[in-house]
């Protein structure tokens, strides 16, 4: 078992997710995150995770669905009847 320390930025989240899976699977024992994680509900500057916490943390990292301007615009045009034959 080992402890891994991560400096987490938003572009590392996929790596963090795989590490969390390792934590959940018992491959690593602890993960220490020493910076805030952007775009999530996690705001503590230092987080120590145990396997027990990993599943909840994975859910916390689950980013909200993307808003696509083109999709939203097309939906609004549809709803407003702006497209006609």
């Amino acid at each position: 078992m080992q402890t891994i320390q991560l400096n987490v930025h938003s572009n590392h989240i996929d790596f963090l997710l795989s590490m969390l899976q390792n934590l959940k699977d018992g491959i690593v024992e602890n993960i220490i995150v020493d910076k805030p994680i952007t775009n999530t509900s996690v705001t503590n500057s230092t987080i120590r995770l145990s396997a027990k916490d990993s599943e909840l943390f994975l859910e916390a990292l689950d980013r909200p669905p993307k808003i696509h301007s083109k999709l939203k615009e097309a939906f609004e045009q549809y709803e407003n009847g702006q497209i006609k034959l």
Binding site: K66, F75, Q77, I83
Partner: protein
Amino acid sequence: MQTVKLDKKRHNRKKFDCDVEALNEYLHSMASQHSIKDNTRTYVLENSENPSNIVGYYTLTMTTIELSKLPPKLQKKHFNNHSSALIARLAVDKKYKHKKIGSWLLIDALKRVLNASDIVAFPMVIVDAKDGVAEFYEKFGFSPFLNEENKLYLPIATIRANFGG
């Protein structure tokens, strides 16, 4: 404008021409049979002045998600549900090109899929983008599967978020 289920007694399928032979042929001779067998559902947009004329159509069915071709995060999220809606075909008659009818039909199809997912849960909609129309779907947020440029997916959660559900 609204779509209705294809009705072979009401709709003049033979007059439909989108310039893609496979899509014409499907509507002319297969869509109705597939629907009778409960394999697919085809919805058509009628010409309001002459409802027997079909402006465009799309076909919906279910398919299986190839989890290994999704990003790792989605693989983990949906490991226990391999079912997905499939927009198998979507076409517009050539007389109505460049009027955004394709976009309108796509939104109509996504609304139907979203409603269906509220009743029987599934996590995404997949599209087979035949004849190099993948870019059309990518504009609306669809992402290609790994190593399959013409097969794209859009999570139901994304549709719901963008449609204000």
